[in-house]
Every structure is written in C-alpha cells, then in structure tokens.
C-alpha cells in the first residue's frame, strides 16, 4: 500500500487494517473478514478431507471439535450439501459447484461479519451459479453478514447488491444504490456497460459496445482515464482527473459532466 487507510469498526472500536499488528490481523482474517476466491479447488488442500479443512479453520479461531462439527453440519445443510457424505470426501471427489458451496460454508465457520467473494461463480455453469446466488441471498438473510461481491457481471450485481461501485483503470468511478446506478447511471462507463450486454428478455435495440479498448495501466490517458472511449467527452476531459462528485442521493460519480449522462433506452423494464 502506498497511501490511505482501510478502517474497520468492531462495535465501537475503530482500527486501521493497514497498521494492525500481525497477531491482530491474523485474528481479523477469517474471524471478522473472510474471503472466498474464484477457484474453489485451489483454495483447498487436495490431500486433506473436507472435514480437516473445517477442523483447521475452526481450531485456528478457538473452536473445539464438537462445536466445529455441529456448525459445519449446519452450514453444509444450509448450502444444500449432505454433511455425512461431504465431510468425508476429498476436494477432487466433489463437482465444481459443490466445492464452491463447501468453501462458502468454510468461510462462514468462524462467523465473520464481512464476507468478500471474488468472482465466486465465474467458473461455474449457469444453473450452478443460480443455486449459489439463491443460497447467498438466504445465507445473508439468516446469518446477517455484510457482503462485498466482486464481479465483472453487472447482472449479478443487479441480483444481489444493495449498493454497487463501478471500477475503471484502478479507481471507483461510480457508487450508488443498486436501483439508482442501474436506472440512472451517472458515469458514462456504467451507462456504457449497461448497454453493452445483450439480454434474454426485452428489446435488443440499443445494445452496443463501448468503443476503443480496455485501458493499458502502463499508459493511462491524461485526465479522466475513460475520456478516449467516452460518448460524453468534452475538450477539457484530459486536463485533470475528476474526483468522485456528489451526483444525487448517496450516488457519486467521477465525471465532470455526470449530469449529462443518460441511460441507454431499453424496454426491458416494461
């Protein structure tokens, strides 16, 4: 990290993740903030049974074997897996969707308050993805953790999110409540992404790509890094990099001309 803070609050105590001692950090990881990665197979040890994974994680967070077994069984049932079968299995004996659900249950074992999911369904089939989305929604409702869901797929954000942040070239360029961001995008990149994906319902007119190529991080354009691809570009957009401006109720946009941005017309909402 070159600069900045990552603040984390437990009850009334605020701490900076970047200045914590290794011991505090160790307790926070998994216990307070857990993370699930894209590829579940590489997140597991191939020579250990699933039970050993739960045992290692639980013990590291001060649980005894009986408590681990009880909570593991409960979590596995919640993700629609049979604990008696799965806990005995090795990772390679499970399908991709089953592994991702095991890793999800494993992450929830120490009762984290924040769960970070990095493209958790990208490697999975559509029907398996649907199962995971529905499970995540139910788990969050029942267990009450906060979710940071990282995805390249806007549709998954539309399914799951309360708030959505769009990133471009290493910066958050827009953040807002899910309905504001989808129905009233205030950054040209968000509006462009929304128009770029064909849908299975509604009108196909208005579907179009964003011109140009994704940014080369070694040669970022001057000013707003999106300006060479932007439909709303003005002559002064290469002068300075825009801040995240207030652009409505809780919505912020890193565009000097955010008030001009309009959603691309589609009748899918009709």
């Amino acid at each position: 990290m070159e600069a900045g803070q990552i603040l984390y609050r437990v009850d009334r105590e605020v701490s900076d993740v970047l200045t914590q001692t290794p011991e505090d950090l160790r307790r926070m990881r998994g216990g307070q903030v857990a993370m699930v990665f894209q590829n579940a197979l590489s997140a597991m040890n191939p020579v250990l049974r699933i039970w050993s994974h739960f045992q290692d994680t639980g013990r590291a967070h001060g649980m005894n074997d009986e408590a681990i077994r009880e909570r593991a069984a409960d979590l596995l049932r919640r993700v629609r897996l049979d604990p008696s079968r799965v806990l005995r299995a090795y990772p390679h004996e499970l399908s991709g969707g089953m592994r991702q659900r095991v890793v999800l249950a494993l992450a929830l074992l120490p009762r984290p308050r924040v769960l970070i999911l990095d493209e958790p369904t990208t490697a999975l089939d559509l029907l398996t993805q649907r199962t995971i989305i529905d499970l995540l929604r139910a788990l969050r409702r029942d267990l009450g953790f906060a979710l940071l869901f990282i995805s390249h797929d806007l549709a998954l954000a539309a399914e799951l999110a309360d708030r959505v942040a769009t990133m471009y070239a290493g910066r958050v360029v827009e953040i807002g409540n899910v309905e504001d961001l989808f129905y009233r995008p205030r950054h040209p990149y968000t509006a462009g992404l929304l128009a770029a994906a064909p849908r299975v319902r509604g009108d196909l007119a208005g579907v179009r790509s964003i011109p140009g190529s994704p940014p080369d991080l070694l040669r970022l354009p001057a000013g707003c890094p999106f300006h060479p691809r932007c439909a709303y570009m003005q002559p002064d957009c290469d002068d300075a990099e825009p801040d995240l401006f207030e652009a409505g109720d809780g919505q912020r946009s890193a565009c000097f001309y955010w008030h001009r941005v309009r959603p691309v017309a589609r009748d899918a909402t009709a």
Partner: protein, 340 residues
C-alpha cells in the same frame, strides 16, 4: 450443406468411457446460422471440432454437401478443411506467440494460394481492414501479446476468413473478451457473414448472446451430449419447450434489479450436474427436472419430436402437446427434494 447422422464421440478415461456427444442428428443449410447452446461438459465444443474435421466421430456420419467427410482423402480432404474453418474460444492460446500478425495470416494464404511475399502483405492488410483493425500497418507487424483480447480475436477471425471458407465454426468467440467489447465483435461477425454468405455454427453458453447473434437463425440446446431442443431462436429462447432450456432461461441473471428480483424462481430437484461417467437412464435431465414423471422419464429415452414451433426431446411436453407452466404447488413440491 452439413448433415449430422447419429453422430457420437466417446472418450476413454481411466474410470470409464465418457460419451461427450451422443447420437446427434442435425442439418445446417447453406449460409445458415445455427447457435449451439450448452453448459461446459455438454459436448458442444466436441461437436464443433468434429464438424471442423479436427476430431472424428466414434460412430455416425457427417455429410458435407452429400459426401461423408470420414471418407475424404487427399485433395478432397484438403478442400474440406479449407471450406470449413474454426475460430476458437481463447485468442490467447489460438495464436502463436512467436509469430507476427503477418506471419499468422500468411500461413494459410501460402498453403492455399501459393502467393509471394509482396502479395501476402497486401492480402494480409486487406484482411485486417475487413475485421476493422485499421490502419492495417499499425497491426501487421505486431505480436499477439501486443494486442488486446478483442484485437486478437479479430486476427483469429481474419485468419479463418483468409481462405474464403463456406462454413465457419465459432466456438465461444466472445466469452473471453471484455464485456464492453463483445457486441462489436458479434456485429462484425454478423456483417462478415452476410457479406460472404458463409454458414455458421455459433457455439455459446450464453442464451442472451445466442438470442442476439442468432436472432434470424435457429438455436440448438445440448445437455450431457444430446440435443434436447432445436428450433427458431426466438421460439427456443423465449418460449422453450424443454425443461432444461426453461431452467436455463429462469436462471439467467438480468442487468435490471427490479426485473431480475421479481422473477419466479425455478428450483431444480438436484442442484448438481450428473457425472459424465454416469449419465442417468431414460431422459438424462430427469433427476433434476421439476416436470419429471416417475416410471416414464427415468425409463424411456426421449427423441427430438416437433412441439409447437420447435423440436424438443421431452416425453412430458410431447404427450401434453407443449410444456405446461409449473404451478405454485409443483414448485413447492420441488423445493429441497433433491438428494443433495
């Protein structure tokens, strides 16, 4: 133009035989677009590779303009390999990293046209212009690693079109491309297709992409090596008559929060795809299917039969003259009744 007669392809593995493609029969007309939709492991890539002549069927025949391609030898085989080209999914793997764009495009030109170096450069430049890599001088001496994913896929497309094929197998050509650029590549492919009249098998796992690209053509849906539904794209994607297609449609998340959260969920009886080694008896979708009827669907293997505007391989839909909507009670009954 292309006709598949009960084409199967099996692969031997240590644990047994995997039937990747299982008795698929299909016809694709001159200049037609057929979208082939399926999830990973459904056999769609294997089917595409068999049509492109890269692997041969275990049983069954593939006919190209009436001739069995398995019997072609020598010049006839070379002519077939030229007439049918393939664009692979991964433009990072399908282009040789040690060759420039010019060398990549020159190889097929040299092979099929026996052209000299000067002509090759001119032809390569005109190919690059056709795939909208302009100006060509900016690309022709680049190596693949100097290009973005979208640009690489355009080079791959230019290479496939360089020998003026009559049929193109496009295997997930946009799935590895940045979301912001996919539609422009689809539009390019559609334009080149209409200009050249080349027929196309367009393989995708994405119903929305099939709907967009194949709007005027047909769409076929594969599940565990078999075709389960074939028909006009609008009918298949918007009014599916096979439970699997309907499950796919119900599962697609939409980039529209109100719409996507308001949809009725369809709960499958089993969340997991069966192992390719143990494909279920009867209808291979029956252990997951909310419409499944015991002692029918687990006993009889369904064939494609005409239902409404399309063909579907579902015994229940065939008997009822169409797949009925699931009532709320049936959806309820299906919840959580799967094994795991």
């Amino acid at each position: 133009m292309i006709k598949l007669e009960r084409v199967s392809r099996a692969f031997a593995s240590r644990e047994g035989t995997i039937r990747a493609v299982d008795e698929v029969s299909l016809e694709i007309g001159q200049g037609e677009v057929l979208c082939l939709v399926g999830e990973s492991g459904s056999g769609k890539t294997t089917l595409g590779k068999m049509i492109a002549g890269l692997i041969s069927p275990s049983t069954g025949r593939i006919l190209f303009e009436g001739a069995d391609i398995g019997a072609l030898r020598g010049d006839a085989w070379r002519a077939y390999r030229r007439a049918v080209q393939i664009v692979h999914q991964d433009p990072y793997a399908s282009l040789n990293p040690t060759k420039t764009v010019l060398e990549i495009l020159a190889a097929p030109l040299r092979l099929y046209w026996r052209q000299g170096a000067g002509e090759l450069r001119v032809r390569a430049a005109s190919l690059l212009e056709r795939v909208e890599l302009a100006p060509p001088e900016a690309f022709v001496d680049k190596f693949p690693h100097q290009l973005s994913g979208g640009q690489r896929q355009r080079v791959s497309l230019a290479r496939a079109l360089s020998v003026q094929p009559r049929f193109l197998v496009a295997d997930e050509p946009v799935s590895m491309i940045d979301v912001s650029l996919r539609v422009s590549l689809l539009n390019l492919l559609a334009r080149l297709r209409s200009e050249t009249g080349v027929g196309c098998l367009f393989i995708t796992h994405d119903l929305a992409v099939a709907r967009y690209f194949g709007a005027a053509g047909r769409t076929a849906v594969m599940y565990l090596g078999r075709l389960v539904e074939v028909g006009p794209t609008a009918a298949v994607v918007e009014r599916p008559q096979h439970p699997y297609t309907r499950a796919l449609l119900a599962a697609v998340p939409e980039a529209d929060p109100r719409l996507t959260r308001a949809r009725a969920p369809m709960r499958l009886r089993d969340a997991d795809v069966p192992d390719a080694l143990g494909v279920p008896a009867g209808c291979s979708f029956h252990p997951r299917c909310p419409w499944c009827e015991p002692s029918l669907c687990d006993m009889v293997r369904p064939d494609l039969v005409p239902i409404r505007q399309q063909e579907a391989a579902c015994l229940v839909a065939a008997r009822d003259g169409g797949l009925r909507d699931l009532g709320p009670d049936q959806q309820e009954a299906a919840v959580g009744s799967g094994p795991i």
